[in-house]
Symmetry: C2
Subunit: 386 residues, 2 copies
């Protein structure tokens, strides 16, 4: 397997794009990535797109072909779906495609256009990421699933309502400087506690929003990437699975898929979790960021709330988390999120991010599908793997 690097990134602003179709957003993000990579469209040899539910949200399946056609790339094009982890599945498969030598240059796109359906339908469509027969059909929405996890975490470990709020506060603080973020206003713990209840104990400001957006990046094999202006290297990738229904799990407060994915990625990257200088985690709901910090090994199981409260995830903390605002402030166009996470790590590592960290060497993203049935972890580094 060959070394592979990200050589270009691009995205739309995340938000409500009433004037843009999913095709428009794919073109905007894809061409931005090509321009950033300083290549021609004709240099791209294969296309990978992650999208959860364009069939329901936009009446459009066959998104690989749509993307390749719209971008003027007559290349093999495939769509990947794994609920909210769709973007990272596209990324991971593109990485294998180039690492294995099948192609030398690939484009990865993530996209979702969620606001063209009515509110309740957006929620019903998202519920298709869970178990339709045993969860969605009885009215269990995703806010409901994560509320169960939050309640159990509070019960078992004493995690406080305030600690959950601090997750959102940190994400919003980081999002202020991000011109692509959906929400750029700072919020306080009090704001979260006073926001309306969505699914007790989760309130509105614990929940990532419904978002339109697309993100794209260009990857290349070692021989080509070495000539690129500012390559960021993919050091490892891991993917884990768990039961699709929450009720089938041994634990409501831990995601086995995250542990599996992280172990595989770290092993391939040949680094330890504490070598990382920053991470992007999947804060679809505030509780998930706390669970992720525990499962990734930054603190013991049950200590995630305290870890957040102690300031460890701040931009200047022990491990800066979601330095551009995460899903909460940045927005969560589900199929695009994994690719956006990768972009924001790449920009930190190459030095042109908002809230720029000082000389980070390693970054990791964790992208979770459903209530944890799929998890993908990718690790990036400023230097090539030897």
């Amino acid at each position: 397997m060959r070394n592979v690097a990200v050589v270009g990134v691009g995205q739309t602003k995340f938000g409500e794009h009433w004037d843009k179709s999913i095709r428009d957003m794919i073109i905007e993000a894809g061409l931005a990535a090509v321009r950033d990579a300083k290549i021609e469209r004709g240099d791209v040899q294969s296309l990978f797109i992650g999208c959860m539910s364009s069939g329901r949200y936009a009446g459009q399946e066959h998104l690989g072909a749509l993307a390749a056609d719209s971008l003027g790339m007559r290349v093999p094009a495939t769509r990947f779906e794994g609920a909210c982890a769709s973007g990272s599945l596209a990324f991971r498969n593109a990485y294998v495609d180039v690492a294995s030598g099948r192609h030398d240059c690939a484009i990865v796109i993530g996209a979702e256009k969620m606001t063209d359906v009515k509110g309740p339908e957006a929620i019903t469509s998202l519920a298709a990421a869970g178990d339709q027969e045993w969860e969605a059909a009885i009215g269990l929405t995703f806010a409901g699933l994560y509320a169960l996890m939050a309640r159990k975490h509070m019960n078992d470990f004493g995690t406080t309502r305030e600690q959950l709020a601090m997750v959102s506060v940190n994400n919003h603080k980081n999002g202020v400087a991000n011109k692509n973020a959906q929400f750029r206003m700072p919020i306080s713990v009090d704001d979260v506690l006073k926001s309306s209840i969505v699914a007790d104990p989760l309130r509105l400001l614990d929940c990532s929003p419904i978002t339109d957006g697309a993100a794209a990046l260009v990857i290349m094999s070692e021989n080509l990437a070495k000539k690129a202006a500012n390559p960021v290297w993919i050091l490892g990738s891991g993917q884990g699975s768990d039961t699709i229904a929450l009720h089938d799990r041994a634990s409501f407060t831990e995601m086995a898929a995250t542990r599996t994915a992280a172990k595989e990625a770290l092993s391939e990257a040949k680094i330890n979790i504490n070598d990382l200088n920053m991470i992007e985690v999947h804060d679809c709901f505030s509780i998930n960021e706390i669970i992720a910090l525990e499962d990734l090994g930054f603190c013991e199981k049950g200590k995630g709330g305290r870890f957040v409260e102690d300031g460890n995830i701040d931009i200047n903390g022990k491990i800066p988390v979601n330095t551009t605002g995460g899903l909460k402030a940045g927005g969560h166009p589900v199929g695009a999120t994994g690719v956006r996470q990768a972009i924001d790590i790449v920009r930190q590592l190459r030095g042109d991010s908002c809230n720029q960290l000082k000389n980070p060497l390693y970054g990791m993203n964790l992208n979770v599908g459903g209530s944890g049935a799929t998890a993908v972890v990718n690790i990036f580094g400023r230097e090539m793997k030897q």
Copy 2:
């Protein structure tokens, strides 16, 4: 890249399964493939599933996780979508996964449950494989798209209505012996000509049906597969793209994506088109089988109708086509079709097919997505590639 073989196959009967969910069908096909491979579920290391539109047909996305969970396989699981070519995209990516050394044993599944929605909704959902904004929105269904191709083919090349009918006649003849086929009755040219018009010139018996079904196969790397009872080797794989909308093409009577995919697959397999002993092609509508025979190079462009009329595609002809009934008689659960095609080639090559050919060495399948925006070709052989 390592050699890879198919070592086990399984499927549900194709048809209208009012008593089975998409989950039930995935379990039935998946476990049948595992049993046929004479392995344990725990031997499978990764899962690839192709499905076009379970979100719309079954209210269920996140199908990789659902399949892995339902089959009791806690392995990385990914869904692939490329309209009616979804099954072959899953197959192709599984092949790369094992060939590249990432995993040693993978399961490939294709599934679609289409009959749980009302008739018009099934057609609208299928139209999502075309260009939603420029085709589906103005009422252009898939029968309509292929009718345009048929009319143009008849106009430009003198292809006759009877020759189109002969495609369906041959597929139905081959389907009689196939216990998994949706329709097992022979039909005559006259039956086709007298069936009701769907989209002129295409009639009901030119069109593949709406079908429920799942198909699965197990693949292994060379070192493991050598010990299997009856491995069939994957010799090559190719994937091509074209514009998603038919009106953007230079020609209505040829599929550039097919030519691209076949060229890549043949080159990797290091064989010529005339080395093949049988093929499975994508006869979603009768005209598409004629176009496929031309684009694959079995006859000149425009001569496909005559090629069929001369008996070349019969089970005893120059190149037996769709020896188990194809999409027309066998049924077309869209996401499952590519995997079913692979299964039927494997069974011919290992010698346990209905309508068994005498010692075939090489087989190929062509799986087409939409009106030709995606095409995947896979080539199989009884002997390993050297």
